[in-house]
């Protein structure tokens, strides 16, 4: 019963070219200029970040673009110490968080980094601000992480 059988190593690799469409394209262009854009719903006045093509509540098309604050509050967070897997974008340890940027109405998922990782004393309501990568590629990781501010 204890005989070991062979295993076959095989990796599936498939290329994709996802169409970003006008909304992601404009949002990403904003990131390149160190600006975070949301879209506002005319009907319910909610501002969504990242910008979205339509309001998930009202189903109105959204074309009212607003530059939003780069500061906000942590809504919830998790410190990942050793959950590592194939193809992971960021290696542990790191902190992911839901962040409510000031005067917006949706929670932004991103990393909290910098001194937060040393202290691990984040609480709901912790104030944070965006820290930008010097090199911009026009995607979510142009924001390096959000850093606690006192």
């Amino acid at each position: 019963m204890s005989k070991d059988y062979n295993t076959l190593r095989h990796i599936v690799r498939l290329p994709h070219s996802y169409a970003a469409g006008p909304v992601w394209t404009r949002f990403y262009e904003g990131l390149k200029e160190e600006k975070i854009y949301g879209t506002r719903c005319d009907k319910c006045s909610k501002i969504y970040v990242p910008a979205r093509p339509f309001c998930p509540g009202c189903h109105e098309n959204l074309d009212d673009w607003v530059e939003v604050s780069q500061e906000g509050e942590v809504v919830s967070w998790a410190y990942s110490r050793e959950s590592e897997f194939f193809g992971m974008q960021m290696k542990p340890p790191f902190i992911i968080a839901l962040i409510r940027l000031d005067d917006t109405d949706s929670n932004l998922l991103h990393f909290v980094g910098g001194k937060a990782l040393d202290r691990l004393e984040i609480k709901k309501g912790q104030r944070v601000k965006a820290v930008w990568n010097e090199e911009k590629k026009g995607h979510m990781m142009d924001i390096k992480y959000f850093e606690p501010i006192d």
């Binding site: 990242p50 990942s80 974008q89």
Partner: protein, 388 residues
């Protein structure tokens, strides 16, 4: 409402690290166990439903065709259902619908996973779109840790009380697993061992997390006529509820959790359950993480919001408690993802037909089975009863 539907047989593999068999051979083990124990043959089966995690986990697309021969499905209608963690519950619902609709009288439903062959956490990131969210997914522990943090803040539950309740749950489940011949991880744990285990994703520690298991589960769904014809003791499907929610991760309230609440309430309404803690005899709650299991108790109305820790510490959900939860050891001890939800349903069926063996809850007549899927935007509940 459709026609009455019952489960008249279940089969499981031994779950664990199964490098002793290839994937189709593992599926065959569950299907053969089902046919052997029921005496029902593949000729009686009208159709077959098969399911796994998202196909990126298997590295083989359309696994129901890969498994066609071991499922004994050649020449029969066959389909696949996959909803990630809840695949097994979605499979059960697919089988239920097929029979309830009158389009089939006997349907074979099979869920399977070889967790040790692929990378489940990497697969889960592919449930998320590549423009934004995929960058930030720290595997399932990250998602569920954020949820438990929010839950503790919302209801002001002290961290040490949550730790104590989670510790109680994991000690109980890993001990209960000794009475389930199919369970993967069985262990007598001490409080000290659990509380000092290494942190995976704060505050989740090693024994708060389910294992990677290889395994499969097969279930037969039958019409009322077929129940009479086959002479098997039926576990009737009394209620079915399932619900999805917003796609974007930050949009949904994951504490007062709409999809979990709505799935349970719909199943209760259909089954005539008005007070779950009184009406239900046993529950198989999908519990890949101890913290999440506590939250599920609240969402399902087993207790008030913010009270699951107190009730757990009082023993309300223990084997000898008012509503025993996961007497099989649950997902926390055995998690072959594509089979896991179906194992919950199988366990519920075994309980209400008095066939659960050493982990039988005496006199169980009404059982609750649940699974959660997607990333965490989907929940499904089935209620099974000994009476129609």
């Amino acid at each position: 409402m459709g026609r009455p539907v019952a489960i008249i047989g279940v089969g499981q593999t031994r779950h664990g690290r199964r490098f002793d068999v290839s994937y189709p051979e593992l599926v065959k083990e569950a299907v053969d166990a089902l046919f052997d124990t029921t005496g029902i043959g593949p000729d009686d089966v009208d159709g077959v439903v098969s399911g796994t995690m998202p196909s990126m986990m298997e590295g083989v697309a359309l696994t129901h065709f890969y498994f066609a021969d071991v499922l004994r499905s050649v020449g029969k209608p066959i389909m696949k259902t996959e909803t990630c963690g809840s695949t097994g519950a979605s499979l059960a619902i697919t089988g239920y619908y097929w029979v309830a609709s009158g389009m089939a009288d006997l349907v074979l439903v099979v869920g399977s996973e070889k967790m040790n062959e692929g990378d489940s956490q990497a697969t889960m990131t592919t449930v998320l779109e590549p423009f934004y969210q995929r960058y930030f997914i720290a595997g399932a522990p990250g998602i569920f840790s954020m949820q438990s943090q929010e839950w503790s803040v919302r209801f002001g539950i002290p961290e040490d009380k949550i730790r104590a309740a989670a510790t109680r749950l994991t000690i109980d489940h890993h001990s209960d697993a000794f009475d389930n011949p199919y369970a993967h991880i069985k262990k007598k744990l001490t409080e000290e061992e659990v509380n000092n285990a290494r942190i995976i994703t704060y505050p989740v520690r090693l024994w708060d997390v389910c294992p990677n298991s290889d395994g499969a589960c097969a279930v037969l769904f039958a019409s009322e006529d077929k129940v009479k014809q086959m002479g098997r003791k039926p576990a009737w499907i009394r209620g079915v509820g399932y619900s999805g929610e917003e796609y974007w991760f930050g949009d949904s309230d994951k504490v007062v959790w709409q999809s979990a609440i709505q799935a349970s309430r719909e199943a209760y309404r259909m089954a005539g359950v008005t007070n779950p803690i009184e009406d239900l005899d046993v529950a198989e709650v999908y519990n890949p993480f101890t913290f999440q299991e506590l939250l599920f108790y609240e969402c399902f109305g087993f207790c008030d919001f913010g009270k699951a820790c107190d009730e757990t510490l009082k023993g309300t959900f223990a084997r000898d408690g008012k509503l025993p939860c996961d007497p099989s050891g649950g997902t926390l001890c055995t998690n072959p993802i594509g089979a896991t939800g179906l194992i919950r349903v199988s366990e519920a069926a075994l309980q209400v037909t008095g066939q659960a063996g050493d982990h039988q809850i005496p006199g169980a007549k009404l059982a609750f089975a649940h699974a959660m899927g997607g990333v965490d935007q989907y929940n499904a509940v089935l209620i099974l009863g000994s009476e129609l």
